[in-house]
């Protein structure tokens, strides 16, 4: 059942690094992370990889397998042929710390810039009433395990470091959509989505949706509806006229 698999793994740190070849045993049903662990236990004890639950629930073991952003714990060896060399590299959009581990602090910075859930002031705990159909839209986005693969693949920042300041990335634009669609959130987030978080940079190529391990329809259900809401708000002729008329009064 077992065979000797060929793995090419990027090793190095923020200074330099290269791809190194290994041959390691693979058994039935195994995933790429199993092989990385076997490498650690038998050949390279200090090979750095981030992981946690090994069940596709925590989103820690994000990396690129043959150039495609994936969770190492959910990538079955059976999708490759036995003689294929499998290349495992760190996520490209984030700075490397060591080997397969990257510095993902960009994401935590962006998370802090999104204004939090704003409940109605007069609603007490225990008094919240919402219908299943209404919570379902935001619930889809709350399935997100924050693996940051959508951020990694997004071309706005993948090869454009300079866009990182102005662009929150699909994960956090989806967070804005989630709050915007929360049945009880009272904040209006439409203007800031465009001006502060860079919604306009997204040109809906759906790369984020394609790599999402939770199969969240990021583009169709979060980003496009959010763009529509922004357009309604920003380009509504009556709002436009109101802004014109009352601007001088400091309104």
């Amino acid at each position: 059942m077992g065979y000797q698999a060929k793995l090419r793994v990027w090793r190095g740190d923020d200074g330099s690094g290269d791809l190194q070849d290994f041959t390691v045993e693979a058994n039935e049903g195994e995933v790429v992370l199993d092989l990385i662990h076997r490498l650690q236990a038998t050949q390279v004890p200090d090979l750095a990889v981030r992981w946690n639950c090994k069940a596709g629930k925590c989103g820690s073991c994000s990396a690129e397998v043959n150039g495609r952003p994936r969770l190492l714990c959910m990538t079955r060896m059976s999708i490759f042929s036995e003689d294929e060399t499998i290349t495992v590299t760190p996520m490209r959009t984030f700075p490397v710390i060591r080997d397969l581990v990257t510095d993902v602090s960009y994401n935590y910075t962006k998370a802090r810039e999104i204004p939090s859930f704003t409940p109605p002031e007069d609603l007490k705990p225990g008094e919240y009433r919402m219908q299943q159909v209404d919570v379902q839209r935001s619930q889809e986005f709350r399935k997100c395990i924050e693996c940051f693969l959508c951020q990694d693949t997004c071309h706005v920042i993948r090869d454009h470091e300079e866009n990182k300041t102005a662009f929150a990335g699909p994960r956090y634009l989806m967070r804005i959509a989630e709050l915007e669609m929360h049945p009880l959130d009272v904040a209006d987030r439409r203007n800031e989505a465009q001006t502060d978080h860079g919604l306009g940079y997204c040109n809906i190529t759906k790369c984020c949706t394609e790599v999402c391990p939770e199969n969240i329809h990021i583009t169709d259900n979060a980003l496009i509806p959010m763009k529509e809401r922004v357009a309604d708000r920003r380009y509504d002729p009556i709002v436009w006229l109101g802004n014109k008329l009352f601007r001088r009064n400091g309104g």
């Binding site: 750095a48 629930k57 919570v135």
Partner: protein
């Protein structure tokens, strides 16, 4: 002097799972400065893996539910060994803690009238678990993570700095608690990323480090579960109780081998799934124990009617408490009626329409499809027991979560007592919220009461740093060099095979001998490379904690000569009323050893308050208590 980064906080919380985050929120809202230290990235803690739900007697699905019913269920589930005060606080406060999450932005599944939906689970009389599909733990973590962000945003507005009063130290491991004159003075650790040392000067530490599952080979637990909090507390002078009680969840995946142990939520059975053996028999009807006779359906027809009309029918024995179901599965497999890969079948495909299965159990559907090529809407799953939870932990004061060491608090899985000998499903997430909050309050009140703060001694810092880098020095004193991965595998195998779901005296003795051998060899553990993100080094340090807690489990298990909850002995198969009242307390002598010797001592529990005792009928109590203990019961006196 060793180069060490220094920080000063009012409260340091170790662990960023449910209990830790709830403690952080409470302590910060009391105005204190708080650090939260976690081994993983922020938001990745093991709580994300909790699936089924959070138990709270809100009464949304059945108005008959209230805290007294929840309290009774919890005590029964733990076979009356629970700390009754913790069980009382837990049952009373859980609904408020769940509702509070909605004000932070949580989105639970709803009832038709717009309230929080509640689902059935093992051992709970009524549908009681607030849930979000089968990813409830993720919702809890994310909600509290986002609440912490909102507190940081408030601090940003007020102080111009997100981290002015609340900072997350992610991928940072604490290796030592420091004390002055018996009180907590600080915590020492290292950044996983750089290997650099870090010191927290703080009068109060809240341990919220979770469990010990990585001491077992087949487990649903993530790598973080190495018993760090248990070991840190022991070495700081606190006691552990109930360490012999380890919960084996009845339904873990059994195939393929690389995913063996991954959890299959009890929600599958709560939503109608049934267990079957290789002959297609729903075997659980044969395993209703005497203490639960009369409370569960004894035939399939009644069990099936119960899903629709719970008031007129008794519940299915597929939903007995986890210890009972795990033992039943174990017996079926041992007697030759198991599935092809050594488990039993869990069938939801023939019980619900495919769409409904995908809607209610999306991550189970996904998990089996992706990892095992099994479509659970078409075929049954194969499942078997997996090490899931430790009931034992740090002994704490129920109201304040304080341990016996001044300044040291504990909440969640690393604390002990709440669940007695066996935890009910759904009672963990509620435990985290109730006692996480209480630990935050307890720590805050303690800090506010101090006249002066204990100081960290330089010598302690130097010693902690020396201990941490010892694995780079190579083997000493003629001990052979050891690979940490190899030792870890041997430890897991022994605990799994010899102190697992069914225990025997001679096997436990063998495990104790093996642990003694590992104790000798652990001094030889040597790691290669440097301190920057070095997993071999990290494991070498965690391994000491795993060894220490494994010794507690094995010694306590050998001592308790009865079967109860998460402790089943082949050589003492009966529950013994003389043992109900006894707690086994683990402690270590004050020593410089990395893995100090464990001492086990028995002590009696405080008797249950009379008004709580009277919530049970005498006939039920008679199944658990000795005659003497019940002499004052009103029914006896009448």
């Amino acid at each position: 002097m060793t180069e060490v980064e220094r920080h000063s906080y009012d409260v340091v919380v170790i662990g960023a799972g449910g209990a830790g985050l709830r403690a952080v929120i409470e302590a910060r809202q009391r105005g204190l400065s708080v650090a939260v230290v976690c081994k993983s990235l922020f938001g990745k803690a093991h709580t994300v893996m909790a699936e089924g739900g959070c138990a709270a007697s809100m009464g949304n699905a059945n108005a008959g539910d209230n805290w007294q019913v929840h309290f009774r269920d919890t005590m029964r589930g733990g076979k009356f060994l629970n700390n009754w005060r913790m069980a009382e606080l837990h049952a009373k406060e859980a609904p408020d803690r769940v509702w509070e999450l909605e004000t932070y932005g949580a989105l639970f599944d709803r009832t038709a009238d717009g309230r929080i939906s509640q689902r059935n689970f093992g051992g709970h009389t009524y549908p009681r678990l607030a849930h979000v599909g089968d990813r409830t733990g993720l919702e809890l973590i994310r909600t509290m993570q986002q609440k912490i962000v909102s507190l940081q945003q408030e601090d940003q507005k007020r102080y111009g700095d997100y981290e002015a009063k609340l900072k997350v130290f992610a991928e940072c491991t604490v290796t030592e608690l420091l004390k002055e004159d018996g009180r907590i003075s600080g915590a020492f650790g290292y950044w996983r990323e750089s290997g650099r040392f870090i010191l927290f000067e703080t009068p109060a530490v809240v341990l919220a480090t979770g469990g010990i599952g990585k001491s077992f080979k087949v487990t649903s637990n993530s790598w973080e579960y190495t018993g760090d909090g248990h070991a840190l507390a022991l070495r700081a002078g606190a006691d552990l109780i109930n360490m012999e009680f380890v919960q084996f969840h009845p339904t873990g995946m059994v195939w393929p081998p690389s995913v063996k142990g991954i959890l299959v939520t009890e929600g599958v059975r709560g939503d109608g799934g049934v267990l079957k053996n290789s002959q297609g028999e729903r075997f659980m009807f044969r395993y209703i124990p005497d203490v639960f006779k009369g409370q569960y359906a004894d035939n399939e027809a009644e069990a099936d009617r119960w899903y629709d009309d719970a008031d007129k029918n008794r519940r299915t024995p597929d939903l007995l408490p986890r210890d009972e179901v795990a033992r039943a599965i174990n017996t079926e497999v041992k007697e030759g009626r198991g599935s092809p890969h050594g488990g039993v079948f869990l069938d939801i495909a023939s019980r619900l329409p495919a769409d409904e299965i995908r809607r209610r159990l999306p991550s189970m559907y996904h998990q089996f499809k992706e990892l095992a090529d099994v479509d659970i809407t078409k075929e049954p799953m194969e499942v078997g027991p997996t090490c899931h939870y430790v009931m034992g932990g740090i002994e704490v004061d129920p109201d304040t979560a304080a341990s016996s060491v001044p300044g040291l608090f504990a909440a969640g899985e690393c604390s002990g007592g709440m669940h007695g000998s066996n935890r009910l499903g759904g009672n963990s997430l509620s435990d985290l919220l109730v006692f996480g909050r209480r630990a935050g309050l307890g720590a805050a009140s303690y800090v506010e009461s101090l006249e002066r703060r204990p100081k960290v001694a330089d010598a302690d810092v130097t010693a902690a740093a020396r201990t941490a880098v010892a694995p780079f020095d190579g083997a000493r004193d003629g001990v052979a060099e050891e690979n940490p991965y190899t030792l870890h595998t041997e430890l897991q195998q022994s605990m799994n095979d010899l102190v697992g779901i069914i225990r025997k005296s001679d096997e436990m003795q063998k495990a104790i001998d093996k642990l003694a051998e590992i104790r000798r060899r652990i001094c030889g553990v040597t790691v290669e490379g440097h301190r920057q993100y070095n997993p071999g080094w990290h494991l070498a340090l965690d391994l000491r904690n795993m060894l220490l807690v494994s010794e507690c489990v094995a010694h306590a298990a050998l001592r308790r000569t009865e079967s109860r909850g998460g402790h089943t002995r082949d050589d003492h198969p009966q529950m013994d009323a003389q043992w109900r009242n006894k707690l086994l307390v683990c402690s270590v002598a004050d020593s410089d050893e990395v893995v100090p010797d464990v001492t086990i001592a028995a002590k009696p529990q405080e008797p249950m308050r009379q008004d709580l005792l009277e919530l049970f009928e005498l006939s039920e109590l008679e199944k658990y208590y000795t005659e003497d203990e019940l002499a004052d019961h009103p029914e006896r006196k009448a």
